[in-house]
Structures are given as C-alpha cells and as structure tokens.
Amino acid sequence: MSKNLINPSVTGLAYLLGLMSVFLFFSVIGARRLYDSGQPHSVYFLGLNRVSSASQSFTPLHNGLNVVRVYLKNVSIRNHDPLSFTLTDSTGQVVSHIDLNGSNVGDGDSVRFQFPPLPDSAGRTFTFTLTAPTTETSTEIGVGFTDDTGTYPAGLGHVGRQSGELNFDLYYRPQNIGSLLVQVLSLALSRILDLPSLVIATLVGLLWYFLAKRLLFDR
C-alpha cells in the first residue's frame, strides 16, 4: 500500500473534525438542552402510593427550564398504575401536567418529565408533585430521597410526611442556538482542559512515542 495513499495528517484531521461534528450535532440539534442544577444524592427510597405523594420545590438557575428528571425505582417493573407529574409555580398555578404510568418507570431510573421551555424560569421557585392515586403500598414506586436538607438549599422535598430532598435534575433549553453552542463548547472545554489528564496524557504520550520509535523504526 503506497505511502502516498494514506496521509496521516489528513486522516487525523478528518477524525478530529468528525468527532467534533458528531458531538456538536447531537448536543446542539439532538439534545438542545443543558444541565441546570439538581440534587444528586439518594440515601434511600421512600414509597409513592395512593396515600403518600412526593413533592419538591426548586429554583432553576437558568431561563428556559424544559426538563425535570426524578430518580425513581419501580422494583421489578411491577407497578403499572397511573402516575402524575404536576409542575406549579410559587402562586400555585399549574405550569405543566403530565400523566404516565408505572410501566414508564425503570427499576432505579431517572424518569424524564419534559414540557415547553419556561422563558423566565431563572430565580423563580417552582414545585413538582408526583402522585400515584391508585397504587397500593405493595407495588409502590420508590422515590430517591435524602434527609439532609443541606444538599439542596434552594428548595425542600417531601414524601408523605417525611421532609428532606428528592433526587432530581433540572435541564434548560437556551433561547437560541448561538447561546447553546457557546455553552456546550464551554462545558466540553472545562472537561477537556482537565489539568491532571493533560499532564498524564503528555507523560504517557512521550513514553509511548519513545517506545514505539525504538521498537518500530528500522535500524
């Protein structure tokens, strides 16, 4: 195979451009939203059933709130009962209501509730409530929960009479593609320009290169 057929620089550049293109396409056109904030900890699961609902107040950091994800557990996917998600603002007005059922909930899964972006969500307090009006305790859905209210100071959660914080995430949709692109690139760069990985990559790269040169070059 001729040395001229495969140009390493062109091939390498094509790969890098390809990777970037796939990443940006899926981030900007595919996902179209970014992580806002949330409460990532679950110490245990509390039951969601017909006498015990779950609610969580929260305050998004960005405008364009679009998705709330809640960590739920439907053990062995045994629950197929109706389940409702209601989002209200600080005045109690319903912003979004979504009906689903237990079949949509996995056995330890972040369930996604999506609604039209709220353009002025930053800094406002909202509450989401989950209800399972026909579920018995034997098939209740577990809600990821922690008693430590300090993990999310911007809100408070309840499951039944228990106070604490639910395990949830918020995602927002930037108002325009330009803004989304900038934020995606900024997020990616913060991961890429991780100093320890750059140092390790440099040292390992030098070691690999010198080994390869010694082992593979004609003498």
């Binding site: 390498g12 796939v22 990443f23 990559a201 593979l216």
Partner: protein
C-alpha cells in the same frame, strides 16, 4: 523515517483524545468489579453473589479471572496518580455519575494498559514484516483504522489483551515455538474464551503424537491451574460457562428439518480445520486465526469490540496484499452501520456524555431497525467471507 514519526504522532494523538473524551459504562463496570482486588477479594464471582444487596452496582461479573486480576492490579496503580476521586467515581452509579470534574483523567488512566498492549501487537507484526513498504502499510492501517479507535479506546474494552495473546501465539508458531504459542493462547483464554478455538490449529502443527500428547497435557494443566481454584464457586460456573459468546455463536443456524439445525459457525470451523490439516507443515497460522476469529463475529449478534480479535490479522494481510482492500472496506461500512443502529445510547451518542451529560437525554438512533441491521450485517458477512476466501486462496497455493 520522518513519515513514520508523523504517523506515530497522529496515531498517538488520536488515541489520547478518544481515550480521555469518550466514555462507555462497560469500562466503569469492569473497573468497579476490579477494585475489589485491592480489598483482598480474589473470587469476584462469589463476592458479588454474596454482597449483591449492599453493592451500588449489582451486575454479575461475566469475564474470566485474568481480566479481574489484570484490571485489579492496574486499578491499584491507577489510583496512585488519579487520586481518591477515581474510587468515588467508580462507586457512584447514581444519576450524577458524569458530573465529575476529573472524569477525563479517570477515563484516560483506566484505558492506558490497552494503549501499550496495542503497541505490543503492532511491534510483533512488524517483526514479521521485513519489507519496509509492508511495514509502513501495516503501521498506517493499525494506527489510523476506526475499529481500534472505536472498540479499544472509545469503548474502553479490553479485547486487545486476549488479542495480544493470540498474536504472540501466531508469532511463536511462526518461529516454531509451539509450546510458547500454547502458553500465550491459554493465557489469552483467561481474558476471553474465544482463543480456545485457535488451540487446535497449533496442535495440528505438532510433529509427532508424543509432542501432541505433551502439548495437550500443557493445555489442560494451564486450564486446571488458573480455573481450578474457582471451580467450587457456583457463581463462577454460572458466569463463565453461560457467557454471551458461547450462546451467540450457536445462534446462526439453518433448519435441516426434524428439529435439527446446521450451526453455521461450527460448519465453517470444521472447514478451516480440514484446510489447516492440508497445510499442517506450514508454521504460518494467519489464515486460520483470521478466519476463525472473523467467523465468530459473523455468525453472532456481535459486540463491536469482537472485531479487535481479527483486526490486526486483517491489517497484516492487507499490508502484504493491498489488492484485497475493497472487501474489508465494504465490510467495515456494514459493520459500523449495524453497530450504530443498535438500540443502545452508548454505541454513538452516549460516548460523548462525559463532555456533555445532557446527551443522555437523546434516545438511541433506532429502537427497532431489524431489517436495516440485518442488511448491514449481511454486507459485513459477505465482504468478510470474500476476504477469508482470498486469504486462504493465497496461502493454500503458496508452497510451505
């Protein structure tokens, strides 16, 4: 020489980029289990079975023991320079497991052994290629091919480790050191079981019945030595003997009537054995190793990383016979198109989730694409069968 340096630099940079930026949960799963070696656990199979209720991640461990020990040893070294955050990340299976600032470091560090294992594979083949033109072609194919970048460095799968064992076996057999070849193959078996299929081809090269007997005892002895301690563990038996590989290679069948099936892989394997017998005086096992490992991938619902088993054998052949390049190229298209259509976020989009966790909000590209995936798999098989035929035709005609 400047062109080889250039090739090495580009290949290295691509690998480092892909290693650090792309994430697959299998890498984390394997090292989650491997970390228990540093806590004194030696039978990971039984440990998981006994502690399932308290573990943050409850999948069983489905690989042979060497994988656990190798990755466990590497974990102990890796955490020295990646810090305690590595352990924290490995044990975090909650919804925010991608929100770690140093995730790129963890990904890079955990995949480092594969970078050097691949270098060893490349080195061995270049020793078998005296022609500088062929050597350069092999280097270019090895360093710039998408299979290695995807399956080894993006997915972070360890298949390059058993592949290294099989390449060592090929190398030693070519030098007529059959004992060392068998030792290497058997060590490879304890990473993944497929190299067991290559053992008969080496045994066919034995010059006498007494040598065959001795080598057979060696194979059995190594098996007993490394698997024997685990045989009393029911969890190990369940994991090891019910592997997806064993089940998947039996899945391609043609009905013969009366409930009987023609197993396509085994039919091919018998043909390879017969042709290998015809050329049993030849120490070069490339056609046997290439066609057997490729046939496993053909006749199964393959995982992408399985192609690593054959990839470097294919590059070795193409370096010397570039006129056979069209079939592998077509096969590559079919291979990747099928992979990307699988109902799994992490075949494509999810790989970038370490850079942007929001990408996990996107569902797989396809959830029910049986016809297209079958078509692409068919293209892959057809192209691969053509390649196998080309390879054998060159070797059977060549004088020993």
């Amino acid at each position: 020489m400047p062109k080889i340096k250039h090739l090495l630099i580009v290949g290295l940079l691509l690998r480092l980029v892909v290693m650090a930026w792309l994430y697959h949960p299998d890498l984390k799963s394997q090292y989650f289990h491997a970390q228990f070696l540093s806590q004194g656990v030696t039978n990971i199979y039984q440990y998981i079975a006994d502690h399932k209720a308290s573990l943050p991640y409850t999948d069983s461990y489905n690989y042979p023991p060497f994988t656990f020990f190798t990755q466990g040893l590497w974990f102990s070294i890796a955490r020295l320079f990646s810090g305690s955050g590595l352990s924290t990340w490995l044990n975090d299976w909650g919804p925010n497991q991608l929100a770690y600032a140093h995730i790129s470091t963890y990904l890079l560090v955990l995949k480092l052994p594969y970078l050097f294992a691949e270098l060893a594979v490349i080195y061995l083949f270049t020793k078998l290629l005296p022609n500088p033109e062929h050597k350069y072609s092999f280097l270019a194919l090895s360093l710039l091919n998408p299979v290695s970048l995807y399956a080894i460095f993006a997915l972070g799968q360890f298949d390059i480790l058993p592949a290294l064992g099989t390449v060592l076996a090929l190398y030693f057999t070519a030098k007529s050191h059959r004992t060392w070849a068998l030792v290497c193959i058997m060590l490879a078996v304890f990473f993944k079981t497929y190299p067991l299929l290559l053992v008969p081809f080496i045994l066919l090269r034995c010059k006498s019945l007494s040598e065959l007997f001795k080598q057979g005892i060696l194979v059995l002895g190594i098996s007993v030595l490394f698997i024997g301690p685990f045989f009393k563990s029911p969890a190990f038996i369940a994991s090891f003997f019910q592997s997806s590989l064993g089940q998947r290679i039996l899945s391609a069948q043609i009905g013969l009537g009366g409930g009987e099936e023609l197993y396509l892989f085994f039919a091919s394997y018998v043909i390879f054995l017969c042709v290998s017998w015809q050329r049993k005086n030849s120490p070069d096992l490339l056609p046997e190793f290439l066609s057997t490992t490729l046939a496993v991938v053909f006749f199964a619902q393959y995982h992408a990383q399985w192609l690593v088993w054959s990839a470097y054998f294919i590059f070795y052949h193409l370096a010397r016979h570039p006129q056979d390049a069209l079939a592998p190229l077509l096969g590559l298209v079919g291979f990747f198109c099928r992979v990307f259509l699988l109902a799994d976020q992490f075949v494509l989009v999810g790989l970038f989730s370490a850079l942007n966790p929001s990408l996990l909000l996107i569902p797989p590209l396809s959830t029910n694409a049986i016809i297209p995936t079958s078509m692409f798999h068919t293209v892959f098989i057809a192209a691969g069968l053509y390649l196998i035929t080309s390879v054998w035709s060159r070797y059977v005609q060549k004088p020993n």
